[in-house]
């Protein structure tokens, strides 16, 4: 069995998203810093944003995530438990057919993934999901 300490921690060395998305702007900073910068002080509401993610990651190195927020001007995605939480920020121009983004991200460990959407009027909504990164192997 190759279940070593190194394997369990290997994911912890990882950084942020691989995908270069249109308008992606990965910033340094904590979840709080990034959230404050994104909201500009606006209060954070709920509803109008859907985050689709697996409950348990099948492969922590590439976890499919989708965010949809009809009417959003931009969407920011954060992996709160990664060494660098910023995943991406996507801006939608007026010609965008839909305001949704999907990508695959690397997760260091079990954590909450947070999606924020800024609407045209400056209001901000948020959704989050806990994604478990597990050793696995004993179900059944």
């Amino acid at each position: 069995m190759k279940l070593t300490r190194r394997d369990t921690l290997a994911l912890g060395l990882g950084g942020i998203a691989l995908a270069a998305l249109p308008g992606a702007a990965a910033a340094e900073g904590t979840v709080e810093d990034l959230t404050n910068a994104f909201t500009g002080g606006a209060e954070i509401g709920t509803g109008g944003i859907t985050l689709t993610a697996p409950e348990i990651a099948e492969n922590g190195n590439t976890v499919p995530i989708a965010v949809s927020a009809p009417g959003a001007a931009s969407i920011m995605l954060l992996a709160s438990g990664n060494p660098t939480p910023a995943v991406c920020t996507v801006n939608f121009g007026p010609a965008a057919g839909s305001q949704s983004v999907s990508t695959r991200i690397r997760l260091a460990k079990t954590q909450d993934v947070v999606a924020l959407a800024k609407m045209a009027d400056g209001s901000v909504v948020q959704a989050s999901a806990t994604i478990k990164v597990t050793i696995g192997g004993c179900g059944g």
Binding site: L3, T4, E58, G137
Partner: protein, 563 residues
Amino acid sequence: MISRRDFLQATVAASALWGASGVGNWSRLAAQQVLTQDKLLEFDDYGNVTLIHITDIHAQLKPVWFREPEINLGVGAAKGQPPHVTGADFLKMFNIATGTPEAYALTYEDFVALAQTYGRMGGLDRCATVINAIRAARPDALLLDGGDTWQGSLTAHRTNGQDMVNVMNALKPDAMTSHWEFTLGIDRVTEIVETLPFPFLGANIFDAEWDEPAYDPYKMFEVGGATVAVIGQAFPYLPIANPKWMFPNLSFGVREERMAEVVQEVRDAGADLVVVLSHNGFDVDRKMAAQVEGIDVILTGHTHDALPEPVLVGKTILIASGSNGKFISRVDLDVQNGQMMGFRHKLIPIFSDVIAPDAEVTALIETERAPFKADLEEVLGTTDSLLYRRGNFNGTWDDLICNALIDEHEADIALSPGFRWGPSLLPGENITREDLMNATAMSYPAAYKTEMTGEMLHTVLEDVADNLFNPDPYYQQGGDMVRVGGMGYRIDITRPQGERITEMTMLKSGEKVDPAKSYTVAGWASVNEGTEGPAIWDLVESWIRKQGSVTVDPNTSVQVVGA
């Protein structure tokens, strides 16, 4: 999370409102002390649609002993709710007297004595008799197989599942879903699925690269003037709980939104009744029933629970039909104008000495077993102890396997996975190779030997404990706790991951496990590709032969808190 309201609704179905269940008949049987095939099959036909459910057979063609769990703890909203009720509490909840056939079939107490009284259960030739009798009354009844069918015996292992495919085909299922099937490897699964005369359903199985559906999500049937949609839901955590390198291009998951979409799709296509043939596990199904609108019946699987009455969640009924061929559920439904108006249900126990085997299927089973007869029957030793596996923390079969691993690999600690398959053996019985393979047969059997630090061992135990005791069912994988030999621990099931496991102690020396120290650990069934070691059955066979007669001491090494 399940809301308080869902929680209150998710109690045992109120038969006065919704229809009669089988438990009343069972109690009468018990009072009369009469057990006949006619009584076991007795059923007043009801409504216009009949479903026959069998699941988690784990390749058991022949009747078996199967001791139900003594410990089966529920957490969060499921605490104290069926199926997390065992022994005397179970008998009380379902109004079953001790010492009766149904007490023997459904609980663990006094198992050895009752087994000798009532005999083995299951056998697919007996199941065939029951299925044929139901079809005689209801020719268009749907037979639905919940999966975990092609794995779990010597013959299934040696034939890559072909023996089970051949025998099940004779029973003529209308659909199946899956879990352990995929541990035959994707090429073999594809090869079999191409030959199946019925659909292999999985709405939640996707191509991992393109995120597109990989199998048929559902099939529509015309039954009794109603359109019945059967949606398949495979085990959601296959690539995590089993080796994903065996089916590298597939992705699974609960995919609740997908289920909601498919339910809507079949309703739009004219379904009067929506049935989910599920391998989610009971608690996951209970949550899914509360979250997804429009499912009438969930035929549950994976967690091997047998319940004599349906559990009602909102307007959805959940049926739990046990494992290893011990039970078949019959559900009659009255479906009118796109609505389920009521149901009648019976969990039929397959008492192998009472239900006559179907001669045709008996002959087929013997044909499948004939090439392996000598291997199956070879006696390896005898057991002085009752050998069983089911239970959240330990079972004597795994204690035996852990003892063998420690001795044969000269290890400090042994780990055996918390599988729920594997029938029982009574004290005084021979252990044949067939018995050993029934407890171990699978496609990644290497018995490894490795070094782990105390900290790593703690991480492993915490990880598995969260698969079992996370209060949100969608994070549960449905196995039992990994069995540990050579080491004891304390577990508080109410704590979050990382805080449940304490007081890890080496049993031999009484010393606390040192997080920084390295220990020699032996185990089997690693999900990692390239794991090296002898097959677990060869290692255990060698150990049993040296012992001659095997005794398993009572296991008191796990202290459970918060139950």
